[in-house]
């Protein structure tokens, strides 16, 4: 659309029309996004146990955060969870996409199968996986024992619970990464690949030298999305471990929920929530800068 066309369209249009069309969205945004955010900021400076009126305590909640050992553990858990899930899911998704990009028998069916876990609700995934990884009757340990191995404690031990969660979340995520990568692969002109093949580049060289750089923008988008997904992952963890055993799988978002509803520290929960928003914003900005730098270098 050229700017001139746009101006002409606008001059003919009734002046009220755009506001009418965007009005409902604007009102809903105001009532259920903006107002709650403003209240959240206000709450973060209050000390309130219930939903009633709290006392203004200035920056106390933020000072508490600095000295809170549980918060430190939650942040560490969040890092472990994110670093465990994001690169793994992306790598598997990329491998599947590359494998399924070329003509193969049963390719359509295979793509659909890899995608199926995306359809299941987080809660459904949570209960199925709790059952599969049940240490006494679960099929995972039954299979291990059938192979003559010892069963693992999975979700019941602080040492394996996080690993199990990472495994489950990666399972839900690979279909998404695969689909996005497949779309990007199909937009790489086939002449480029053929030219590289004629020049004698091996399959691996073509992958490293051609496919990976061409996919860089997609990788960058997927990275942001996956990190955001991981930072916001709640349902699966809530159902499978509730943050335990002990505190071993309590990630930041779980800690926010727990502070608000189990510990009844609404003000502190609001402050923690804003910390999470800050982390998300910083990450997005860093990522954008990195992408821009990479573009300048090229």
């Amino acid at each position: 659309m050229s700017p001139r066309d746009e101006t002409r369209t606008a001059s003919r249009a009734g002046r009220w029309a755009p506001y009418l069309f965007v009005g409902p969205a604007g009102l809903l945004f105001l009532a259920f996004s903006l107002v709650p955010i403003v209240i959240a900021v206000a709450l973060s400076f209050q000390d309130t146990a219930t939903l009633g009126d709290g006392n203004w305590v200035g920056g106390d909640n933020y000072r508490t955060m600095l000295a809170d050992p549980l918060l430190r553990t939650a942040l560490l858990n969040t890092v472990v969870f994110t670093v465990g899930t994001v690169p793994t899911a992306m790598a598997i998704g990329l491998a599947l996409a590359v494998a399924l990009d070329r003509p193969l028998p049963g390719r359509g069916l295979l793509r659909a199968l890899f995608f199926v876990p995306m359809v299941a609700a987080g809660v459904v995934v949570g209960v199925i996986m709790s059952w599969i990884f049940n240490p006494d009757y679960g099929v995972a340990n039954n299979a291990l024992r059938a192979l003559g191995l010892e069963g693992l404690p999975w979700l019941t031990s602080p040492r394996t619970a996080m690993l199990t969660l990472v495994l489950v979340v990666v399972w839900t995520r690979i279909g998404f990464c695969m689909v996005i990568y497949l779309g990007a692969l199909q937009s790489i002109p086939s002449e480029l690949r053929e030219a590289a093949a004629i020049d004698g580049a091996s399959r691996w060289q073509r992958f490293r030298g051609l496919t990976v750089p061409m996919l860089a923008p997609t990788t960058s988008i997927l990275l942001i999305l996956n990190v955001v997904f991981s930072l916001q992952a709640f349902d699966v963890i809530y159902v499978m471990t509730g943050g335990g055993p002990g505190f071993s799988t309590t990630v930041l978002i779980q800690y926010v929920f727990r502070s608000a509803f189990a510990d009844a520290r609404m003000g502190y929960a609001a402050a923690l929530g804003l910390l999470l928003v800050l982390i998300l914003l910083v990450f997005t900005l860093l990522r954008q800068r990195a992408t821009k730098k990479a573009e300048e270098l090229l």
């Binding site: 369209t9 249009a13 359509g108 809660v123 209960v127 199925i128 349902d235 929530g273 998300l280 914003l281």
Partner: protein, 295 residues
């Protein structure tokens, strides 16, 4: 998402390199076999859900186990439907997802149209502010949003679930991207014919938005059907729960000596409708989910 046609090579090239061709075809089969093994692993948990749902006690009675239901029974289903208000949960989920999606798609279409096709004061700011909300996780606004809903007297009503999720940034974003592609000439022609703004939208713009509406409906319905945290907070009575929230109450429910059979039965009931929709509208489904990633 069906397979696209294999690149056709001229017959002469094939004749020149028969051995290489044969080797690459064998490799193709090997790869397909490997991928099939991975695919079985990926689908197994859902298969296992169905098997457990069809087995008495969900196979938790003994350490013996079988990979398929040896004596399939609907006992788990009849038990859980008799003791828990599962039909109510399904009805609530259908209401929340159906009405919520219908209204939300309308909101998104309108907003997307305004942001794509009109120039008005505050457009850029409004769009930027909308997009920022993608970064704000629901847990941050959970308590305040609950306060708002409580002030409106909606706690425990389906509207408490529906209203706050009607504003859907991703939906608005997808709608705007699509509407940018609607040719201005089309709108101009309608206006020259004397059509008003509303008529132009409903008679000219909307009819060309079929694929967009498909994506928005499927995506919106799936997200609402699967939503958990917000319904968990605003719904309280057992009768008013949605399926995912109801399901989450079952694992620790003392009413069942061994809850797994019942849990897997309800999990099956929760997933199967979406699986059917997915299989029927696979292409729109995948397109929809992919379009949330292409920002």
């Amino acid at each position: 998402m069906t397979a696209t046609a294999a690149p056709v090579r001229p017959a002469s090239a094939r004749a020149v390199r028969p051995r290489r061709e044969r080797r690459s075809r064998r490799r193709g089969w090997l790869l397909a076999a490997g991928l099939t093994a991975v695919a079985i692993l990926v689908v197994f948990p859902l298969y296992w859900m169905v098997v457990s749902a069809l087995t008495a006690g969900g196979q938790s009675q003994s350490s013996e186990f079988s990979l398929w239901p040896e004596a399939p029974t609907l006992g788990n289903f009849t038990e859980v439907f008799a003791t828990q208000p599962v039909w109510r949960w399904l009805g609530n989920s259908l209401l929340v997802a159906g009405v919520g999606t219908a209204l939300s798609v309308c909101v998104s279409l309108g907003a997307g149209y305004a942001l794509a096709k009109y120039r008005f004061r505050g457009r850029g700011l409004l769009y930027a502010v909308f997009l920022v909300t993608i970064m704000i996780p629901i847990q941050v606004t959970l308590v305040p949003a609950f306060l708002v809903v409580a002030r409106l007297g909606l706690v425990d009503s389906p509207w408490a679930v529906i209203l706050p999720t009607l504003f859907d940034v991703v939906g608005i974003f997808i709608a705007r991207q699509f509407m940018l592609g609607v040719p201005d000439a089309l709108l101009e022609a309608a206006r020259l014919d004397g059509a008003g703004e509303l008529r132009t939208f409903f008679r000219v713009v909307l009819p060309s938005c079929g694929p967009l509406v498909g994506v928005l409906v499927i995506l919106g319905f799936m997200n609402r059907w699967n939503d958990f945290l917000w319904p968990l907070v605003v719904l309280q009575g057992n009768e008013s729960l949605t399926v995912p929230v109801g399901l989450s109450t079952l694992t620790g429910n003392p009413a069942f000596s061994s809850p797994w059979g019942a849990v897997m039965a309800v999990a099956t009931v929760a997933v199967v409708p979406l699986l059917v929709v997915f299989l029927v509208f696979q292409k729109t489904f995948v397109q929809g989910i992919a379009s949330t990633g292409i920002k």
